[in-house]
């Protein structure tokens, strides 16, 4: 059974449609990335999944339970790292974890949670003296206290330096390897690509792209480019290509396979494909492509304002 099931979920604030009829599933043990620009609806989606907000329409199931109706039960099995939530500024990081242990049945030892989040050295520091990145780590420590089956991370590494970010990735990978289901939102494309097995890209409340990370990337923008030999007409190529000047570009779900096909086709004819480039898609390509489409669409309609 999928750990998270979302069916035709919608939520609006007044006339602003924050989440617009989205559906997706996250398999147990998968890492699912929810991407999108500010105001795309990521945080609202997480708040609906964690039962902080009531959907206008549609259903959410986390571990088969309704996060609002069965909140206490769901909370026992999930860890939540909110994008925005306060701490008691005069308590130390260690005291905060200790107090949260009282709220958490079968909690990890405080030292273990701090260690996991890389905060051991700051255990005796007051929360008000922690940096932004350190507060995110404390947030992570609290989310991990109850050894959750499902972990919701809303922009987990915002404000962290690259090293800290890599540490957190390591923790998330490790948890996922042991079967924890992770749903995270992020601005960092690299983060999503490093961690996630599945993704959904949101724009204006809708999921515009979704599915398996590798497949999605490959299907969208994998490409092979080369100089078209002067003796060859584009129509003769074994794969459909677009030609701009001398350069032919083949878009393909599997660019490696496409390159092999092209190369063996060329060698059979004694041709050389100069300047051959095989490019697997990166999430950034996909994102830029979508952003570009979005802008085109936006220019033709009236501009809607974004909201986080």
């Amino acid at each position: 059974m999928a750990a998270i099931q979302v069916n035709h979920l919608s939520k609006s604030y007044g006339s602003f449609q924050a989440v617009d009829d989205i559906s997706f599933e996250v398999e147990a043990g998968a890492v699912f990335a929810l991407l999108g620009r500010n105001g795309a609806g990521k945080t609202t989606t997480i708040e609906l999944l964690t039962g902080f907000r009531r959907p206008d329409a549609g259903t959410v199931r986390v571990l088969g339970l309704d996060p609002i109706r069965d909140r206490a039960q769901v909370r026992g099995n999930v860890g939540i790292m909110l994008q925005e939530a306060g701490f008691f500024p005069d308590l130390t990081a260690g005291q905060t974890v200790e107090i949260w242990r009282d709220f958490t049945p079968a909690a990890r030892p405080a030292s273990e949670a701090l260690e996991l989040a890389g905060l051991t050295a700051k255990a005796k520091t007051k929360v008000r003296q922690l940096s932004g990145g350190e507060k995110r780590r404390l947030d992570l420590a609290l989310a991990l206290l109850g050894r959750p089956d499902v972990l919701f991370l809303d922009e987990p590494t915002t404000g962290m330096d690259p090293e800290a970010r890599r540490d957190v990735w390591e923790v998330v990978r490790d948890l996922a390897a042991r079967g924890t289901t992770v749903l995270l939102t992020t601005h960092y494309l690299e983060e999503a690509q490093q961690l996630a097995t599945n993704l959904a890209i949101m724009d204006r409340g809708e999921i515009v792209v979704g599915g398996d990370m590798a497949e999605t990337l490959a299907a969208r923008v994998g490409r092979v480019s080369f100089e078209l030999p002067s003796v060859v007409q584009p129509g003769e190529l074994p794969l459909p290509a677009t030609v701009r000047g001398k350069v032919a570009v083949v878009q393909a779900a599997d660019p490696d396979l496409a390159a092999q096909t092209l190369l063996s086709w060329a060698s059979e004819r004694g041709l050389r494909l100069r300047g051959l480039e095989v490019r697997t898609a990166s999430l950034e390509d996909l994102f830029l492509e979508l952003a570009h489409n979005g802008e085109t669409a936006q220019n033709s309609t009236t501009t809607r304002d974004a909201r986080a």
């Binding site: 909370r75 026992g76 909110l82 925005e84 939530a85 306060g86 009282d102 709220f103 958490t104 609290l142």
Partner: protein, 252 residues
């Protein structure tokens, strides 16, 4: 159990909140001990006047230590998204609020007992004849005032407005119960039933009976109407919380 956890957290935060202690403890305690002691020493019928005044000042403790304090604390925690964070844990909404109410009520009763002992030592005010009656209404009154404070947060848009929007009740409660002297007698008589219907006045009336002469029967009779008054206020508070309580600041 988790209710104990929220209770402990709330109590710990109460005594650590240096910004709030002057309003939540020092002022009510200072008035409840200082004013009767002053009366004892400056008026002719000293002890009677002191006792009279002391019982009235309990309304200040109820509205300062219970009502004002919980309103400010909860509104601040709501603004700082601390309530939201608490709700991200296993705790239920009920446990979070009940922990706050129970802890606030406990601190309030502690302050009431300290002041009763202090005026006994400093102003010769006798201890209550019926300590059980005193205790029952101190606890019930503190709990109802704390619950009303939780309800009142819904009317407050943001943290900085919590104190100014709550202080008038502090003065009203003190005025109505005679903590500021017999000013009530100077006000139009049609206002009297209104003052008597305040939850703080209900507690003060019964505590007054617990200090005065009487029997079990007369104590029960004195407690009947105030108990009803408190029950109605408790109902109003609970219904308002159910209907209007907000865990986060309003968006936009």
């Amino acid at each position: 159990m988790s209710l104990t956890a929220t209770y402990k957290l709330s109590a710990r935060l109460f005594w650590r909140d240096k910004g709030m202690l002057p309003a939540s403890v020092i002022t009510p305690l200072g008035l409840a001990i200082g004013m009767p002691t002053l009366m004892r020493n400056v008026t002719a019928g000293g002890v009677t006047a002191a006792a009279q005044m002391f019982v009235g000042t309990l309304a200040l403790i109820l509205s300062g230590t219970a009502f004002l304090n919980i309103t400010v604390a909860l509104t601040m925690r709501r603004d700082q998204l601390l309530l939201k964070r608490l709700r991200a844990t296993r705790l239920t909404d009920r446990q979070i609020l009940l922990g706050e109410v129970a802890s606030t009520a406990t601190q309030t009763v502690i302050v009431m007992v300290i002041s009763a002992v202090a005026v006994h030592l400093l102003a010769d005010v006798p201890l209550p004849r019926d300590p059980v009656l005193f205790a029952v209404f101190a606890v019930a009154g503190a709990a109802v005032m704390a619950t009303l404070g939780v309800a009142w947060t819904a009317a407050i848009p943001r943290g900085e407005l919590a104190a100014p929007m709550t202080l008038p009740f502090f003065f009203l409660a003190g005025l109505a119960s005679g903590a500021m002297g017999p000013i009530v007698d100077l006000l139009p008589s049609w206002l009297h039933p209104f003052f008597a219907a305040l939850p703080t006045s209900a507690v003060v009336d019964v505590v007054r009976a617990s200090y005065g002469p009487g029997t079990l029967g007369s104590d029960l009779a004195a407690a009947a109407v105030p108990a009803l008054v408190l029950a109605v206020w408790a109902g109003v508070a609970l219904l308002s919380i159910r209907r209007w309580f907000r865990w986060e600041t309003r968006k936009s």
